[in-house]
């Protein structure tokens, strides 16, 4: 019996699966399951006799699943990306990173500046649309790691903020 705790849009639910018996438990209910992988990323599911096509592709820290017009990012709650980076000191909150590949338009703060939650720090642009990255909480800007016109990627820490109180 395989057990997964999977998260979609912040909601975690358990999926249990017995591949040999063709049984699955969804939302506490046991259902009969059959499936075939038609091609990589293309699955035909049959749940209690009803067929449905599902499309699955790897996504950052999970899988993107498309079923009947709905598209979700599904993440393993047990292996959810650690909220912390690799190996550095402390829990490393206070990081500001673009939500998508983008170009930095303007930097609105400098190191040492005290910022309020929601205060704009960096303006990035992707596909002609500008987005302001805001401070997640109050604190002091510890470092600015980018410059205008730099191409930046998700995960890249553009501005580091030391929180007002250090919750450890």
């Amino acid at each position: 019996m395989l057990k997964y705790r999977l998260q979609i849009e912040g909601q975690t639910a358990e999926v249990a699966l017995d591949p040999e018996q063709g049984l699955t438990t969804l939302d506490g209910n046991q259902r009969a399951l059959a499936w075939r992988a038609l091609a990589p990323g293309r699955l035909l599911l049959e749940l209690d006799g009803k067929q449905v096509l599902a499309f699955v592709a790897p996504a950052p820290q999970g899988k993107q699943v498309f079923i009947q017009g709905r598209s979700y990012l599904v993440q393993d709650a047990e292996r959810a990306p650690s909220r912390r980076g690799a190996g550095g000191a402390g829990g490393q909150p206070g990081q500001v990173t673009p939500p998508m590949p983008a170009v930095v338009v303007r930097i609105l703060v400098e190191p040492g500046k005290v910022v309020e939650p929601g205060q704009g720090l960096v303006v990035v642009s992707a596909m002609k649309m500008e987005t302001t990255l805001a401070a997640p909480y109050a604190g002091v800007v510890a470092a600015v790691n980018t410059q205008a016109e730099a191409k930046v990627m998700p995960g890249e820490i553009l501005v580091e903020i030391t929180p007002e109180e250090n919750h450890d």
């Binding site: 849009e9 498309f66 979700y72 939500p99």
Partner: protein
């Protein structure tokens, strides 16, 4: 007819134009930026010419480079598509100077209609109904305040050279007017190199209804009926349909005549679109003329059987229209959905990336004008449109059902798309009832989140994918092509 045409555009519209060219035996030349070396339009063309680096000003907006590409490739005409240089009179002028045909109206017409106040002047003379407002730009705050009082609040501050919602502000009361004018003017100056602004009355809950027009060089002008494009996000249309559920045959007749009058008054030649706002009482007002092929032109093609690109090429080749107004009729109902790489739950944030999986809908009455392919990287430099899905059926309800069916089988993975939102819009009672106004999304879908109806199945699919894909997938240690037992045995234990 031309034997070779350069398409000064990218993405789905470049591909759309190339299809007609190929059907007519015309060779195609694609142009592209460094970011687009592997774009679908580059791969599809008979010939592809590099314009320059990714920023549009150095590539798709670079007129000298485009003219040079046309000359070097031996193209006889340039089709500008939509966006980029399509409504820039400078390209039309440059074509003329270089002895190339420009597939669109003359530079003078583009320039006149590009200025909102000049266009209003022309339309006033032709007795086309206008939105109450100013006929000339103004930078005097007191004069603006007086005009606003005269029009009655809310008023709309608009940039004379504006478009796409830029340089536009809704003003609820006199206290906000001065600041709104200032902001709009500076935004417009930045975006269009022209800070001129004027005021119009702000209509409440209008519909956006536009008429396709065609005019040949011999002086024949017809309209090819309307398109309703009220469903918009950030002033950009996302769902369009024809016929409009709001038009009676009489109103259609009246608006069509107005559209033809508007085109004639402007001296329009080639395909264009006259946009109107329609208020709940059935009054319509001239909004602007788009001097190009519209994004939503396919729904007109589906209901009239015409190929608008073919007609554009014929008109540019000085051929007369092969039909008159009386020969045209609408058949059935067509809906178009624009498919964007964006996240509608996060304020339509663009979602560039690699399309890792693409399953396209097909079937009777379904047309997909796509600009992407599986494995393609949606670049972050340009508009995130992936393509347009068009459904045709004998009536509106059947077309809606067909569109829903197509959207639900349109799998795009690797990037976020607006497909889930489009499905919800099409399933909304207000849409079913035809109650579509330009504030439709704000009114019915603000704070929209995707339904979690398929979440359980999605979780299951996640697990099954883990099982079916050889595990340990992070870095396959396969030695000779077949998965090792470590990869094939699943969660095996002693």
């Amino acid at each position: 007819m031309f034997h070779k045409v350069l398409i000064a555009n990218r993405g789905e519209i470049a591909l759309r134009i190339m299809r007609t060219c190929s059907e007519m035996g015309i060779a195609t030349v694609a142009v592209y930026s460094e970011a687009d070396a592997e774009a679908a339009h580059v791969l599809q063309a008979d010939q592809a010419m590099l314009l320059g680096p990714a920023p549009p000003t150095e590539s798709y907006l670079n007129i000298p480079a485009i003219i040079a590409a046309a000359e070097q490739s031996g193209a006889q005409a340039i089709h500008p598509g939509y966006g980029f240089l399509a409504e820039n009179p400078a390209l039309a002028e440059a074509c003329q100077e270089a002895g190339l045909a420009f597939i669109g109206p003359q530079a003078r017409v583009i320039r006149n209609l590009g200025s909102k106040t000049t266009a209003r002047g022309i339309m006033q003379k032709a007795r086309v109904p206008l939105i109450p407002g100013m006929m000339a730009p103004c930078s005097e705050p007191e004069e603006m305040a007086r005009q606003a009082d005269g029009l009655g609040y809310p008023v709309l501050v608009k940039a004379v050279s504006g478009g796409g919602g830029k340089g536009m502000r809704v003003v609820a009361g006199p206290e906000d007017l001065a600041e709104a004018c200032e902001l709009a003017a500076s935004e417009a100056a930045q975006a269009f190199d022209d800070g001129a602004i004027y005021l119009e009355r702000c209509l409440e809950s209008p519909r956006h209804v536009e008429f396709q027009i065609l005019a040949d060089a011999q002086g024949n002008t017809v309209h090819v009926f309307e398109r309703e494009c009220s469903i918009q996000r950030r002033h950009q249309k996302i769902i369009e349909e024809t016929p409009s559920p709001a038009l009676t045959p009489e109103l259609r007749e009246k608006m069509g005549q107005a559209a033809v009058a508007a085109a004639k008054a402007a001296g329009y030649v080639n395909a264009g679109t006259v946009e109107f706002l329609l208020d709940p009482e059935g009054n319509f007002y001239f909004l602007e003329v788009n001097t190009r092929l519209q994004v939503e032109h396919p729904i007109t093609e589906m209901t009239t059987g015409l190929d608008l690109v073919r007609l554009q090429l014929m008109i540019a080749d000085d051929q007369p229209l092969p039909f008159g107004q009386a020969d045209l009729s609408q058949r059935g109902h067509a809906i178009q959905c624009r498919i964007y790489a964006e996240d509608p739950a996060q304020n339509f944030l663009p979602s560039p990336g690699v399309i890792s999986l693409l399953a396209e809908p097909t079937g009777p009455g379904v047309r997909l004008d796509s600009g992407v392919y599986e494995g393609y990287t949606v670049p972050l430099e340009y508009d995130p449109i992936l393509g347009k899905l068009i459904a045709w059926a004998p009536d509106r309800e059947a077309a809606r059902g067909r569109m829903l069916r197509a959207l639900k089988s349109f799998a795009v993975l690797g990037v976020q798309t607006n497909i889930p939102l489009l499905i919800d819009v099409l399933e909304a009672q207000a849409f079913i009832d035809g109650q579509t106004f330009t504030d439709f999304l704000e009114r019915h879908f603000s704070g929209w989140r995707q339904s979690l109806e398929q979440a359980d199945l999605a979780r299951l699919a996640y697990v099954l994918d883990e099982l079916s894909a050889p595990a340990g997938g992070e870095a396959p240690a396969s030695d000779t092509g077949w998965p090792t037992p470590w990869q094939s045995l699943g969660s095996w234990r002693v």
